[in-house]
Protein backbone atom coordinates (compact mmCIF):
# COMPACT_ATOMS: atom_id res chain seq x y z
CA UNK A 1 0.00 0.00 0.00
CA UNK A 2 1.39 3.38 -0.98
CA UNK A 3 1.44 6.04 1.72
CA UNK A 4 -1.31 8.66 1.45
CA UNK A 5 -0.38 11.82 -0.44
CA UNK A 6 0.97 14.64 1.68
CA UNK A 7 -1.13 17.74 2.27
CA UNK A 8 -0.18 20.26 -0.38
CA UNK A 9 0.41 17.66 -3.05
CA UNK A 10 -1.81 17.25 -6.07
CA UNK A 11 -3.12 14.30 -8.06
CA UNK A 12 -5.14 13.62 -11.12
CA UNK A 13 -8.20 11.44 -10.64
CA UNK A 14 -10.71 10.11 -13.16
CA UNK A 15 -14.31 11.37 -13.01
CA UNK A 16 -15.83 8.09 -11.74
CA UNK A 17 -13.59 8.42 -8.66
CA UNK A 18 -15.94 11.15 -7.42
CA UNK A 19 -18.58 8.49 -6.75
CA UNK A 20 -16.04 6.39 -4.85
CA UNK A 21 -15.18 9.43 -2.75
CA UNK A 22 -18.85 9.99 -1.90
CA UNK A 23 -19.25 6.30 -1.06
CA UNK A 24 -16.20 6.31 1.22
CA UNK A 25 -17.44 9.36 3.11
CA UNK A 26 -20.89 7.86 3.49
CA UNK A 27 -19.40 4.59 4.68
CA UNK A 28 -17.56 6.57 7.36
CA UNK A 29 -20.81 8.01 8.63
CA UNK A 30 -20.76 11.35 6.83
CA UNK A 31 -23.94 12.90 5.51
CA UNK A 32 -22.74 14.04 2.12
CA UNK A 33 -24.23 17.27 0.82
CA UNK A 34 -23.66 18.73 -2.58
CA UNK A 35 -25.07 20.92 -5.31
CA UNK A 36 -28.43 19.71 -6.55
CA UNK A 37 -30.99 21.27 -8.81
CA UNK A 38 -34.26 21.93 -6.97
CA UNK A 39 -36.95 24.60 -7.14
CA UNK A 40 -35.23 26.41 -9.98
CA UNK A 41 -31.88 26.78 -8.24
CA UNK A 42 -28.68 24.96 -7.36
CA UNK A 43 -29.32 24.12 -3.74
CA UNK A 44 -27.16 22.40 -1.15
CA UNK A 45 -28.83 19.06 -0.49
CA UNK A 46 -28.11 15.46 0.52
CA UNK A 47 -26.20 13.64 -2.19
CA UNK A 48 -25.77 9.91 -2.75
CA UNK A 49 -24.81 9.71 -6.39
CA UNK A 50 -22.86 11.82 -8.87
CA UNK A 51 -25.89 11.39 -11.13
CA UNK A 52 -27.68 13.82 -8.83
CA UNK A 53 -25.14 16.57 -9.55
CA UNK A 54 -26.36 19.38 -11.85
CA UNK A 55 -24.22 18.36 -14.79
CA UNK A 56 -24.06 21.03 -17.46
CA UNK A 57 -26.32 23.39 -15.52
CA UNK A 58 -25.32 27.03 -15.45
CA UNK A 59 -26.74 29.76 -13.29
CA UNK A 60 -27.35 33.16 -14.77
CA UNK A 61 -27.31 35.71 -11.97
CA UNK A 62 -28.22 39.39 -12.04
CA UNK A 63 -29.36 41.79 -9.34
CA UNK A 64 -32.65 40.33 -8.08
CA UNK A 65 -32.65 37.59 -10.68
CA UNK A 66 -31.48 33.95 -10.82
CA UNK A 67 -32.13 31.53 -13.68
CA UNK A 68 -30.72 28.16 -14.68
CA UNK A 69 -29.75 27.14 -18.17
CA UNK A 70 -29.18 23.57 -19.21
CA UNK A 71 -26.58 22.34 -21.66
CA UNK A 72 -26.36 18.85 -23.18
CA UNK A 73 -22.77 18.40 -22.14
CA UNK A 74 -20.69 20.09 -19.53
CA UNK A 75 -19.08 19.54 -16.18
CA UNK A 76 -20.43 18.68 -12.79
CA UNK A 77 -19.54 22.12 -11.46
CA UNK A 78 -20.36 24.62 -14.22
CA UNK A 79 -22.51 26.62 -11.78
CA UNK A 80 -21.29 29.06 -9.13
CA UNK A 81 -22.78 29.82 -5.70
CA UNK A 82 -26.51 29.33 -5.23
CA UNK A 83 -28.82 30.58 -2.49
CA UNK A 84 -27.41 28.22 0.14
CA UNK A 85 -24.08 28.60 1.91
CA UNK A 86 -22.34 26.60 4.63
CA UNK A 87 -23.86 28.89 7.25
CA UNK A 88 -26.87 26.77 8.30
CA UNK A 89 -24.67 23.70 8.68
CA UNK A 90 -22.61 25.31 11.45
CA UNK A 91 -25.00 28.01 12.66
CA UNK A 92 -28.45 26.45 12.40
CA UNK A 93 -31.36 28.81 11.72
CA UNK A 94 -33.18 27.53 14.80
CA UNK A 95 -31.75 25.77 17.82
CA UNK A 96 -32.52 25.25 21.50
CA UNK A 97 -29.77 26.62 23.71
CA UNK A 98 -31.37 26.13 27.13
CA UNK A 99 -34.19 24.17 28.69
CA UNK A 100 -35.76 25.09 32.00
CA UNK A 101 -38.02 22.68 33.88
CA UNK A 102 -40.14 23.41 36.91
CA UNK A 103 -39.27 20.97 39.69
CA UNK A 104 -40.55 20.55 43.24
CA UNK A 105 -38.38 23.23 44.85
CA UNK A 106 -37.78 25.57 41.97
CA UNK A 107 -36.30 25.32 38.54
CA UNK A 108 -33.85 23.02 36.86
CA UNK A 109 -31.67 24.42 34.08
CA UNK A 110 -30.33 22.16 31.37
CA UNK A 111 -27.97 23.04 28.55
CA UNK A 112 -28.64 20.56 25.78
CA UNK A 113 -25.61 18.74 24.42
CA UNK A 114 -24.91 20.19 21.00
CA UNK A 115 -25.53 17.79 18.11
CA UNK A 116 -22.32 16.52 16.52
CA UNK A 117 -23.24 15.74 12.94
CA UNK A 118 -20.60 14.52 10.51
CA UNK A 119 -21.29 16.49 7.35
CA UNK A 120 -19.24 16.38 4.15
CA UNK A 121 -19.88 19.11 1.62
CA UNK A 122 -18.95 18.68 -2.02
CA UNK A 123 -18.48 21.69 -4.27
CA UNK A 124 -17.61 24.42 -1.76
CA UNK A 125 -16.27 27.58 -3.40
CA UNK A 126 -13.39 29.81 -2.35
CA UNK A 127 -15.70 32.61 -1.21
CA UNK A 128 -17.61 30.27 1.08
CA UNK A 129 -14.40 28.89 2.58
CA UNK A 130 -13.36 32.45 3.38
CA UNK A 131 -16.81 33.06 4.84
CA UNK A 132 -16.37 30.01 7.06
CA UNK A 133 -13.01 31.30 8.25
CA UNK A 134 -14.72 34.60 9.13
CA UNK A 135 -17.46 32.72 10.99
CA UNK A 136 -14.77 30.77 12.86
CA UNK A 137 -13.40 34.06 14.16
CA UNK A 138 -16.87 35.23 15.18
CA UNK A 139 -18.06 32.03 16.86
CA UNK A 140 -14.80 30.49 18.10
CA UNK A 141 -12.39 33.40 18.51
CA UNK A 142 -12.03 35.34 21.73
CA UNK A 143 -13.28 34.47 25.17
CA UNK A 144 -16.71 33.13 24.20
CA UNK A 145 -16.86 30.01 22.07
CA UNK A 146 -20.17 28.88 20.69
CA UNK A 147 -20.44 25.20 21.67
CA UNK A 148 -22.87 24.22 18.93
CA UNK A 149 -20.85 25.95 16.24
CA UNK A 150 -17.68 24.28 17.54
CA UNK A 151 -19.25 20.82 17.49
CA UNK A 152 -20.69 21.25 14.02
CA UNK A 153 -17.53 22.80 12.66
CA UNK A 154 -15.43 19.89 13.85
CA UNK A 155 -17.60 17.44 11.94
CA UNK A 156 -17.36 19.35 8.66
CA UNK A 157 -15.44 17.72 5.79
CA UNK A 158 -14.96 20.12 2.91
CA UNK A 159 -14.40 19.22 -0.72
CA UNK A 160 -13.83 22.49 -2.49
CA UNK A 161 -14.11 23.21 -6.19
CA UNK A 162 -12.30 25.89 -8.15
CA UNK A 163 -14.83 28.00 -10.01
CA UNK A 164 -14.71 27.56 -13.77
CA UNK A 165 -16.73 30.70 -14.37
CA UNK A 166 -18.06 33.72 -12.52
CA UNK A 167 -21.62 34.93 -12.30
CA UNK A 168 -22.27 38.56 -13.16
CA UNK A 169 -22.82 39.17 -9.45
CA UNK A 170 -19.48 37.70 -8.30
CA UNK A 171 -16.80 40.06 -7.00
CA UNK A 172 -14.49 37.78 -5.00
CA UNK A 173 -11.43 38.93 -6.96
CA UNK A 174 -11.69 42.42 -5.46
CA UNK A 175 -12.28 40.98 -1.98
CA UNK A 176 -9.21 38.76 -2.41
CA UNK A 177 -11.28 35.67 -1.54
CA UNK A 178 -11.30 33.77 -4.83
CA UNK A 179 -12.07 32.32 -7.26
CA UNK A 180 -9.03 30.05 -6.72
CA UNK A 181 -9.20 28.01 -3.53
CA UNK A 182 -6.11 28.71 -1.46
CA UNK A 183 -6.88 26.69 1.64
CA UNK A 184 -9.44 25.83 4.25
CA UNK A 185 -10.64 22.63 2.57
CA UNK A 186 -9.81 18.94 2.95
CA UNK A 187 -9.71 18.36 -0.78
CA UNK A 188 -9.70 20.86 -3.64
CA UNK A 189 -11.02 19.80 -7.03
CA UNK A 190 -10.47 21.43 -10.38
CA UNK A 191 -12.66 19.92 -13.04
CA UNK A 192 -11.05 19.16 -16.41
CA UNK A 193 -12.70 17.46 -19.37
CA UNK A 194 -11.07 14.10 -18.63
CA UNK A 195 -10.98 14.13 -14.83
CA UNK A 196 -10.14 16.20 -11.80
CA UNK A 197 -6.93 17.68 -10.55
CA UNK A 198 -7.16 17.16 -6.80
CA UNK A 199 -5.29 19.30 -4.31
CA UNK A 200 -4.85 17.63 -0.95
CA UNK A 201 -5.72 20.22 1.68
CA UNK A 202 -5.42 18.25 4.91
CA UNK A 203 -4.25 14.94 6.36
CA UNK A 204 -7.91 14.00 6.78
CA UNK A 205 -8.48 14.79 3.11
CA UNK A 206 -5.45 12.70 2.15
CA UNK A 207 -6.92 9.69 3.94
CA UNK A 208 -9.84 9.62 1.51
CA UNK A 209 -7.80 9.50 -1.71
CA UNK A 210 -5.78 6.63 -3.12
CA UNK A 211 -6.85 3.49 -4.92
CA UNK A 212 -9.32 5.31 -7.16
CA UNK A 213 -7.20 5.38 -10.30
CA UNK A 214 -5.17 8.43 -9.33
CA UNK A 215 -1.84 9.33 -10.83
CA UNK A 216 0.38 12.40 -10.72
CA UNK A 217 -1.02 15.13 -12.97
CA UNK A 218 0.81 15.91 -16.16
CA UNK A 219 2.31 19.36 -16.64
CA UNK A 220 -0.45 20.10 -19.17
CA UNK A 221 -3.14 19.10 -16.66
CA UNK A 222 -1.55 21.25 -13.96
CA UNK A 223 -1.44 24.22 -16.31
CA UNK A 224 -5.03 23.66 -17.46
CA UNK A 225 -6.22 23.42 -13.84
CA UNK A 226 -4.41 26.63 -12.89
CA UNK A 227 -5.92 28.46 -15.85
CA UNK A 228 -9.51 27.60 -14.87
CA UNK A 229 -9.96 29.94 -11.88
CA UNK A 230 -7.92 32.57 -13.72
CA UNK A 231 -10.47 32.49 -16.51
CA UNK A 232 -13.28 32.83 -13.97
CA UNK A 233 -11.49 35.77 -12.37
CA UNK A 234 -11.17 37.54 -15.71
CA UNK A 235 -14.96 37.38 -16.16
CA UNK A 236 -15.72 39.50 -13.10
CA UNK A 237 -17.03 43.01 -13.68
CA UNK A 238 -18.12 44.01 -10.21
CA UNK A 239 -15.66 45.11 -7.56
CA UNK A 240 -15.26 46.88 -4.26
CA UNK A 241 -12.21 49.00 -3.58
CA UNK A 242 -11.04 47.35 -0.36
CA UNK A 243 -8.25 49.87 0.11
CA UNK A 244 -10.66 52.74 0.56
CA UNK A 245 -14.06 51.28 1.47
CA UNK A 246 -13.58 51.42 5.26
CA UNK A 247 -12.93 55.16 5.35
CA UNK A 248 -15.28 55.95 2.49
CA UNK A 249 -18.26 54.54 4.35
CA UNK A 250 -17.37 55.85 7.79
CA UNK A 251 -16.62 59.33 6.42
CA UNK A 252 -19.96 59.45 4.62
CA UNK A 253 -22.49 58.57 7.29
CA UNK A 254 -24.71 61.45 6.19
CA UNK A 255 -24.30 60.90 2.43
CA UNK A 256 -27.60 61.45 0.55
CA UNK A 257 -27.21 57.99 -0.99
CA UNK A 258 -28.35 56.35 2.26
CA UNK A 259 -31.76 58.00 1.99
CA UNK A 260 -31.92 57.13 -1.70
CA UNK A 261 -31.16 53.44 -1.21
CA UNK A 262 -33.68 53.35 1.65
CA UNK A 263 -36.39 54.20 -0.88
CA UNK A 264 -35.57 51.02 -2.80
CA UNK A 265 -34.72 48.81 0.18
CA UNK A 266 -37.61 46.62 1.36
CA UNK A 267 -36.03 46.01 4.78
CA UNK A 268 -37.02 42.39 4.13
CA UNK A 269 -33.71 40.99 5.45
CA UNK A 270 -33.02 38.70 2.49
CA UNK A 271 -29.46 40.06 2.06
CA UNK A 272 -28.53 39.24 5.65
CA UNK A 273 -30.16 35.82 5.54
CA UNK A 274 -28.29 34.71 2.40
CA UNK A 275 -25.02 36.33 3.49
CA UNK A 276 -22.59 33.56 4.47
CA UNK A 277 -21.10 35.69 7.25
CA UNK A 278 -24.10 37.49 8.79
CA UNK A 279 -24.36 35.93 12.21
CA UNK A 280 -27.12 37.78 14.05
CA UNK A 281 -29.60 35.83 16.08
CA UNK A 282 -32.17 36.46 18.74
CA UNK A 283 -33.20 34.30 21.64
CA UNK A 284 -36.82 33.66 22.48
CA UNK A 285 -38.05 32.21 25.73
CA UNK A 286 -40.83 29.85 24.70
CA UNK A 287 -42.93 28.62 27.58
CA UNK A 288 -45.78 26.13 27.66
CA UNK A 289 -49.28 26.87 28.89
CA UNK A 290 -48.77 25.12 32.23
CA UNK A 291 -45.61 27.07 32.99
CA UNK A 292 -43.69 23.87 33.67
CA UNK A 293 -41.23 24.14 30.80
CA UNK A 294 -39.41 26.95 29.09
CA UNK A 295 -37.06 26.64 26.15
CA UNK A 296 -34.63 29.29 25.08
CA UNK A 297 -34.61 29.14 21.30
CA UNK A 298 -32.02 30.87 19.18
CA UNK A 299 -33.18 31.88 15.69
CA UNK A 300 -31.58 33.78 12.83
CA UNK A 301 -32.34 37.47 13.15
CA UNK A 302 -31.46 40.47 11.03
CA UNK A 303 -30.43 44.07 11.54
CA UNK A 304 -33.14 44.93 8.98
CA UNK A 305 -35.86 44.03 11.51
CA UNK A 306 -37.05 46.63 13.97
CA UNK A 307 -37.02 44.16 16.85
CA UNK A 308 -33.30 43.57 16.34
CA UNK A 309 -32.39 46.97 17.74
CA UNK A 310 -35.32 47.25 20.14
CA UNK A 311 -34.51 48.72 23.53
CA UNK A 312 -36.67 50.00 26.37
CA UNK A 313 -36.78 53.41 24.72
CA UNK A 314 -37.54 52.09 21.23
CA UNK A 315 -35.56 50.91 18.23
CA UNK A 316 -31.99 52.15 17.84
CA UNK A 317 -32.45 51.73 14.08
CA UNK A 318 -36.02 52.87 13.53
CA UNK A 319 -35.75 53.57 9.80
CA UNK A 320 -34.75 51.58 6.74
CA UNK A 321 -32.06 54.18 6.08
CA UNK A 322 -30.36 53.61 9.41
CA UNK A 323 -30.70 49.83 9.11
CA UNK A 324 -29.17 49.71 5.64
CA UNK A 325 -26.36 51.98 6.82
CA UNK A 326 -25.79 49.80 9.88
CA UNK A 327 -25.59 46.67 7.70
CA UNK A 328 -23.28 48.10 5.04
CA UNK A 329 -20.94 49.90 7.41
CA UNK A 330 -20.66 46.84 9.64
CA UNK A 331 -20.16 44.43 6.76
CA UNK A 332 -17.47 46.43 4.99
CA UNK A 333 -15.93 48.71 7.62
CA UNK A 334 -16.54 48.21 11.33
CA UNK A 335 -16.29 44.43 10.87
CA UNK A 336 -12.61 45.06 10.12
CA UNK A 337 -12.27 47.02 13.38
CA UNK A 338 -14.08 44.27 15.25
CA UNK A 339 -12.66 41.08 13.78
CA UNK A 340 -9.63 42.10 11.70
CA UNK A 341 -11.19 41.12 8.36
CA UNK A 342 -13.93 42.40 6.13
CA UNK A 343 -17.33 40.79 6.65
CA UNK A 344 -17.78 40.48 2.89
CA UNK A 345 -16.36 37.71 0.70
CA UNK A 346 -17.75 38.91 -2.64
CA UNK A 347 -20.06 35.92 -3.20
CA UNK A 348 -22.73 38.26 -4.60
CA UNK A 349 -25.65 36.51 -2.90
CA UNK A 350 -26.97 39.77 -1.39
CA UNK A 351 -27.13 41.20 -4.93
CA UNK A 352 -28.80 38.22 -6.58
CA UNK A 353 -31.28 37.43 -3.81
CA UNK A 354 -32.36 41.00 -3.08
CA UNK A 355 -35.92 41.04 -4.44
CA UNK A 356 -35.34 44.53 -5.84
CA UNK A 357 -31.74 43.95 -6.89
CA UNK A 358 -29.88 46.41 -4.68
CA UNK A 359 -26.21 46.04 -5.55
CA UNK A 360 -23.74 46.40 -2.69
CA UNK A 361 -20.89 47.23 -5.10
CA UNK A 362 -22.94 49.99 -6.72
CA UNK A 363 -23.90 51.47 -3.35
CA UNK A 364 -20.24 51.60 -2.33
CA UNK A 365 -19.31 53.12 -5.68
CA UNK A 366 -21.92 55.81 -5.14
CA UNK A 367 -20.39 56.62 -1.76
CA UNK A 368 -16.98 56.76 -3.42
CA UNK A 369 -18.39 59.59 -5.48
CA UNK A 370 -18.26 57.71 -8.75
CA UNK A 371 -22.00 57.58 -9.19
CA UNK A 372 -24.45 59.36 -6.97
Amino acid sequence: MTPPPAPGSSLWMPKPALQTLIDRLRADGYDVLGPRMADGAITLAPLRSVDELPRGVRDEQQPGRYRLTLADDGGYFDHVVGPHSLKPLVFPPRTTVLQVLRVRNGWEFRTPDPPRPKQAVLGVRACDLHALAIQDRVFLGGAYRDPEYAARREGLFLIAVNCARSAATCFCVSMNTGPAVTGGADLILTELANGFVVGVGSARGASYVGGMGERPPTAEEEAAAAAIPQRAAAQQTRRINTATVHDTLLNNLEHPRWAEVAKRCLSCANCTMVCPTCFCSTVNEVNDLLGTQTQRERVWESCFNEEHSHTASGAVHPTTKSRYRQWLTHKLATWIDQFGTSGCVGCGRCITWCPVGIDITEEVAAMEGGRA
Partner: protein
Protein backbone atom coordinates in the same frame (compact mmCIF):
# COMPACT_ATOMS: atom_id res chain seq x y z
CA UNK B 1 -51.71 28.86 40.29
CA UNK B 2 -54.34 31.52 39.78
CA UNK B 3 -56.90 32.47 42.40
CA UNK B 4 -59.27 32.84 39.52
CA UNK B 5 -58.72 31.60 36.01
CA UNK B 6 -58.88 34.30 33.33
CA UNK B 7 -62.27 34.36 31.64
CA UNK B 8 -62.02 34.01 27.87
CA UNK B 9 -64.68 34.85 25.32
CA UNK B 10 -64.72 34.32 21.57
CA UNK B 11 -66.91 36.56 19.41
CA UNK B 12 -67.73 36.31 15.74
CA UNK B 13 -68.43 39.05 13.23
CA UNK B 14 -68.33 38.89 9.40
CA UNK B 15 -66.02 35.93 8.86
CA UNK B 16 -65.78 32.30 7.84
CA UNK B 17 -65.18 30.87 11.37
CA UNK B 18 -61.76 29.59 10.37
CA UNK B 19 -59.91 31.56 13.03
CA UNK B 20 -62.15 30.34 15.86
CA UNK B 21 -61.65 26.86 14.48
CA UNK B 22 -57.90 27.37 14.92
CA UNK B 23 -58.58 27.42 18.67
CA UNK B 24 -60.51 24.14 18.49
CA UNK B 25 -57.76 22.87 16.22
CA UNK B 26 -55.35 23.04 19.18
CA UNK B 27 -56.26 19.42 19.81
CA UNK B 28 -53.31 18.34 21.93
CA UNK B 29 -53.29 21.56 23.89
CA UNK B 30 -57.04 22.11 24.15
CA UNK B 31 -57.52 20.42 27.51
CA UNK B 32 -54.63 22.42 28.95
CA UNK B 33 -56.14 25.61 27.58
CA UNK B 34 -59.42 24.71 29.25
CA UNK B 35 -57.54 24.09 32.53
CA UNK B 36 -55.71 27.39 32.41
CA UNK B 37 -58.51 29.67 31.30
CA UNK B 38 -62.25 29.64 31.78
CA UNK B 39 -63.79 29.47 28.35
CA UNK B 40 -66.87 31.46 29.26
CA UNK B 41 -68.29 32.39 25.90
CA UNK B 42 -67.51 30.49 22.72
CA UNK B 43 -70.66 29.67 20.78
CA UNK B 44 -68.96 27.46 18.26
CA UNK B 45 -67.64 25.25 21.06
CA UNK B 46 -70.70 25.45 23.34
CA UNK B 47 -70.18 27.83 26.28
CA UNK B 48 -72.50 30.83 26.19
CA UNK B 49 -72.16 32.59 29.52
CA UNK B 50 -73.07 36.10 28.47
CA UNK B 51 -73.40 37.38 32.01
CA UNK B 52 -70.80 40.01 31.61
CA UNK B 53 -67.13 40.68 32.17
CA UNK B 54 -64.38 38.79 30.35
CA UNK B 55 -60.65 39.08 30.91
CA UNK B 56 -59.97 38.63 27.24
CA UNK B 57 -62.24 38.73 24.24
CA UNK B 58 -61.00 37.19 21.01
CA UNK B 59 -62.79 38.84 18.14
CA UNK B 60 -63.05 37.24 14.74
CA UNK B 61 -64.56 38.96 11.72
CA UNK B 62 -65.05 42.44 10.34
CA UNK B 63 -67.74 45.06 10.79
CA UNK B 64 -70.07 44.95 7.80
CA UNK B 65 -73.55 45.66 9.20
CA UNK B 66 -75.04 48.48 11.32
CA UNK B 67 -75.99 45.88 13.94
CA UNK B 68 -72.41 44.64 14.24
CA UNK B 69 -71.13 48.20 14.52
CA UNK B 70 -73.27 48.51 17.67
CA UNK B 71 -72.51 45.03 19.00
CA UNK B 72 -68.73 45.51 18.96
CA UNK B 73 -69.09 48.52 21.29
CA UNK B 74 -71.02 46.44 23.81
CA UNK B 75 -68.40 43.68 23.60
CA UNK B 76 -65.58 46.15 24.07
CA UNK B 77 -67.24 47.32 27.27
CA UNK B 78 -67.33 43.74 28.56
CA UNK B 79 -63.68 42.84 27.88
CA UNK B 80 -60.59 43.88 29.78
CA UNK B 81 -58.39 42.99 26.79
CA UNK B 82 -59.81 42.90 23.31
CA UNK B 83 -57.75 40.90 20.84
CA UNK B 84 -58.61 40.72 17.16
CA UNK B 85 -57.83 37.43 15.45
CA UNK B 86 -57.42 36.99 11.72
CA UNK B 87 -57.46 39.03 8.54
CA UNK B 88 -61.16 39.94 8.77
CA UNK B 89 -60.92 41.40 12.26
CA UNK B 90 -57.55 43.07 11.73
CA UNK B 91 -57.98 44.31 8.15
CA UNK B 92 -61.57 43.89 7.01
CA UNK B 93 -61.03 40.54 5.28
CA UNK B 94 -61.72 39.44 1.73
CA UNK B 95 -65.18 41.00 2.08
CA UNK B 96 -63.50 44.40 2.22
CA UNK B 97 -63.33 44.14 -1.58
CA UNK B 98 -66.71 45.83 -1.35
CA UNK B 99 -64.89 48.96 -0.22
CA UNK B 100 -63.83 49.49 -3.84
CA UNK B 101 -67.18 48.48 -5.29
CA UNK B 102 -70.85 49.28 -5.12
CA UNK B 103 -72.54 47.23 -2.41
CA UNK B 104 -76.04 48.00 -3.64
CA UNK B 105 -75.14 46.70 -7.07
CA UNK B 106 -73.61 43.54 -5.58
CA UNK B 107 -76.78 42.96 -3.52
CA UNK B 108 -78.95 43.30 -6.64
CA UNK B 109 -76.97 40.53 -8.30
CA UNK B 110 -76.80 38.17 -5.33
CA UNK B 111 -80.11 38.43 -3.49
CA UNK B 112 -83.62 37.84 -4.83
CA UNK B 113 -84.97 40.46 -2.43
CA UNK B 114 -82.06 42.84 -1.70
CA UNK B 115 -84.35 45.16 0.22
CA UNK B 116 -84.25 42.66 3.12
CA UNK B 117 -80.48 43.03 3.39
CA UNK B 118 -79.22 45.63 5.85
CA UNK B 119 -75.54 46.10 5.30
CA UNK B 120 -72.90 48.79 5.42
CA UNK B 121 -71.18 50.11 2.31
CA UNK B 122 -67.87 48.95 3.76
CA UNK B 123 -66.25 46.06 5.61
CA UNK B 124 -63.85 47.48 8.16
CA UNK B 125 -61.42 46.20 10.78
CA UNK B 126 -62.51 46.11 14.41
CA UNK B 127 -59.89 48.73 15.27
CA UNK B 128 -61.77 51.26 13.12
CA UNK B 129 -64.61 51.02 15.65
CA UNK B 130 -63.18 50.33 19.11
CA UNK B 131 -59.81 50.26 20.84
CA UNK B 132 -57.98 47.00 20.19
CA UNK B 133 -55.31 45.85 22.65
CA UNK B 134 -53.56 43.30 20.50
CA UNK B 135 -53.95 41.74 17.09
CA UNK B 136 -53.15 38.33 15.68
CA UNK B 137 -52.84 38.33 11.92
CA UNK B 138 -53.46 35.63 9.37
CA UNK B 139 -56.05 33.95 7.22
CA UNK B 140 -56.43 31.94 9.31
CA UNK B 141 -54.41 32.76 12.42
CA UNK B 142 -51.50 30.51 13.28
CA UNK B 143 -52.32 27.99 15.99
CA UNK B 144 -48.93 28.47 17.65
CA UNK B 145 -49.40 32.23 17.77
CA UNK B 146 -52.83 31.71 19.30
CA UNK B 147 -51.36 29.46 21.99
CA UNK B 148 -48.56 31.98 22.56
CA UNK B 149 -51.23 34.65 23.05
CA UNK B 150 -53.10 32.51 25.61
CA UNK B 151 -49.88 31.55 27.42
CA UNK B 152 -48.92 35.23 27.60
CA UNK B 153 -52.34 36.04 29.01
CA UNK B 154 -52.09 33.28 31.63
CA UNK B 155 -48.57 34.24 32.68
CA UNK B 156 -49.05 37.98 32.49
CA UNK B 157 -46.54 38.89 29.81
CA UNK B 158 -46.60 40.44 26.36
CA UNK B 159 -47.23 37.96 23.55
CA UNK B 160 -44.32 37.55 21.17
CA UNK B 161 -45.54 37.97 17.62
CA UNK B 162 -42.79 39.01 15.21
CA UNK B 163 -43.57 41.61 12.56
CA UNK B 164 -40.74 41.02 10.11
CA UNK B 165 -41.05 39.78 6.52
CA UNK B 166 -42.09 36.32 5.34
CA UNK B 167 -38.67 36.20 3.61
CA UNK B 168 -36.96 35.78 6.97
CA UNK B 169 -38.76 32.50 7.55
CA UNK B 170 -38.27 31.36 3.94
CA UNK B 171 -34.54 31.82 4.38
CA UNK B 172 -34.46 30.14 7.80
CA UNK B 173 -36.06 27.14 6.12
CA UNK B 174 -33.76 27.43 3.10
CA UNK B 175 -36.71 27.82 0.74
CA UNK B 176 -35.60 29.07 -2.69
CA UNK B 177 -37.01 32.53 -3.41
CA UNK B 178 -39.79 32.23 -6.01
CA UNK B 179 -39.55 35.93 -6.88
CA UNK B 180 -35.83 35.82 -7.70
CA UNK B 181 -35.57 32.29 -9.14
CA UNK B 182 -38.90 32.19 -11.01
CA UNK B 183 -39.84 35.81 -11.61
CA UNK B 184 -43.16 35.32 -9.83
CA UNK B 185 -44.71 38.36 -8.14
CA UNK B 186 -44.55 37.31 -4.48
CA UNK B 187 -45.80 39.40 -1.56
CA UNK B 188 -43.33 37.84 0.91
CA UNK B 189 -41.05 40.92 1.14
CA UNK B 190 -43.95 43.12 2.29
CA UNK B 191 -45.91 40.55 4.30
CA UNK B 192 -45.65 39.75 7.99
CA UNK B 193 -44.18 36.44 9.09
CA UNK B 194 -46.41 33.88 10.83
CA UNK B 195 -47.69 31.47 8.18
CA UNK B 196 -44.66 29.17 8.31
CA UNK B 197 -44.18 29.93 4.60
CA UNK B 198 -46.61 27.33 3.32
CA UNK B 199 -46.99 28.75 -0.19
CA UNK B 200 -43.33 29.29 -1.14
CA UNK B 201 -42.57 25.79 0.16
CA UNK B 202 -45.06 24.53 -2.41
CA UNK B 203 -43.54 26.67 -5.12
CA UNK B 204 -46.24 29.33 -4.93
CA UNK B 205 -45.95 33.04 -4.28
CA UNK B 206 -46.99 34.63 -1.00
CA UNK B 207 -50.57 35.93 -1.06
CA UNK B 208 -50.18 38.22 1.92
CA UNK B 209 -52.38 36.28 4.36
CA UNK B 210 -50.67 37.84 7.37
CA UNK B 211 -50.98 41.38 6.09
CA UNK B 212 -48.35 44.09 5.82
CA UNK B 213 -45.09 43.65 7.73
CA UNK B 214 -43.56 46.55 9.63
CA UNK B 215 -42.82 49.28 7.05
CA UNK B 216 -43.97 47.47 3.90
CA UNK B 217 -42.29 49.09 0.90
CA UNK B 218 -44.99 48.49 -1.68
CA UNK B 219 -43.61 51.26 -3.91
CA UNK B 220 -40.24 49.62 -4.46
CA UNK B 221 -41.51 46.04 -4.68
CA UNK B 222 -44.32 47.14 -6.99
CA UNK B 223 -41.85 48.94 -9.24
CA UNK B 224 -39.71 45.82 -9.50
CA UNK B 225 -42.66 43.65 -10.49
CA UNK B 226 -43.90 46.27 -12.93
CA UNK B 227 -40.45 46.38 -14.51
CA UNK B 228 -40.60 42.58 -14.85
CA UNK B 229 -43.78 42.91 -16.86
CA UNK B 230 -46.46 42.15 -14.27
CA UNK B 231 -49.41 44.37 -15.09
CA UNK B 232 -51.04 46.64 -12.55
CA UNK B 233 -54.28 44.65 -12.65
CA UNK B 234 -52.57 41.44 -11.61
CA UNK B 235 -50.55 43.15 -8.89
CA UNK B 236 -53.59 45.00 -7.53
CA UNK B 237 -55.60 41.76 -7.34
CA UNK B 238 -52.68 40.02 -5.63
CA UNK B 239 -52.50 42.65 -2.90
CA UNK B 240 -56.25 43.08 -2.63
CA UNK B 241 -57.14 39.73 -1.22
CA UNK B 242 -57.50 38.78 2.45
CA UNK B 243 -55.67 41.86 3.68
CA UNK B 244 -56.35 44.26 0.83
CA UNK B 245 -57.84 46.88 3.13
CA UNK B 246 -54.99 46.77 5.65
CA UNK B 247 -53.43 50.24 5.91
CA UNK B 248 -50.10 49.12 4.40
CA UNK B 249 -51.81 47.49 1.39
CA UNK B 250 -54.88 49.67 0.90
CA UNK B 251 -53.29 52.16 -1.48
CA UNK B 252 -51.77 49.61 -3.88
CA UNK B 253 -53.63 50.86 -6.95
CA UNK B 254 -52.49 54.44 -6.40
CA UNK B 255 -48.95 53.31 -5.62
CA UNK B 256 -48.69 51.39 -8.89
CA UNK B 257 -50.21 54.21 -10.93
CA UNK B 258 -47.82 56.67 -9.34
CA UNK B 259 -44.88 54.36 -10.08
CA UNK B 260 -45.88 54.41 -13.76
CA UNK B 261 -45.59 58.18 -13.80
CA UNK B 262 -42.75 58.55 -11.35
CA UNK B 263 -39.32 59.88 -12.11
CA UNK B 264 -37.91 58.65 -8.80
CA UNK B 265 -34.77 56.52 -8.98
CA UNK B 266 -35.10 53.16 -10.64
CA UNK B 267 -33.59 50.06 -9.07
CA UNK B 268 -30.24 49.40 -10.64
CA UNK B 269 -29.75 46.88 -13.40
Amino acid sequence: MHPQKPRLAVFKFASCDGCQLSLLDCEDELLTVAEQVEIAYFLEAGPADSSGYYDVGLVEGSISTPHDAERIRAIRAQCRYLVTIGACATAGGIQALRNWGDVEEFAQHVYARPEYVRTLATSTPIADHVKVDFELRGCPVNKHQLLELIAALVWGRTPRVPRQSVCVECKRRQVVCVAVAKGVACLGPVTQIGCEVICPQYDRECFGCFGPKEYPNLISLGRRYQRDGHDNGHLTRLVRSFNGYAPGFRTVEKVLAKNNHSSSPQPSE
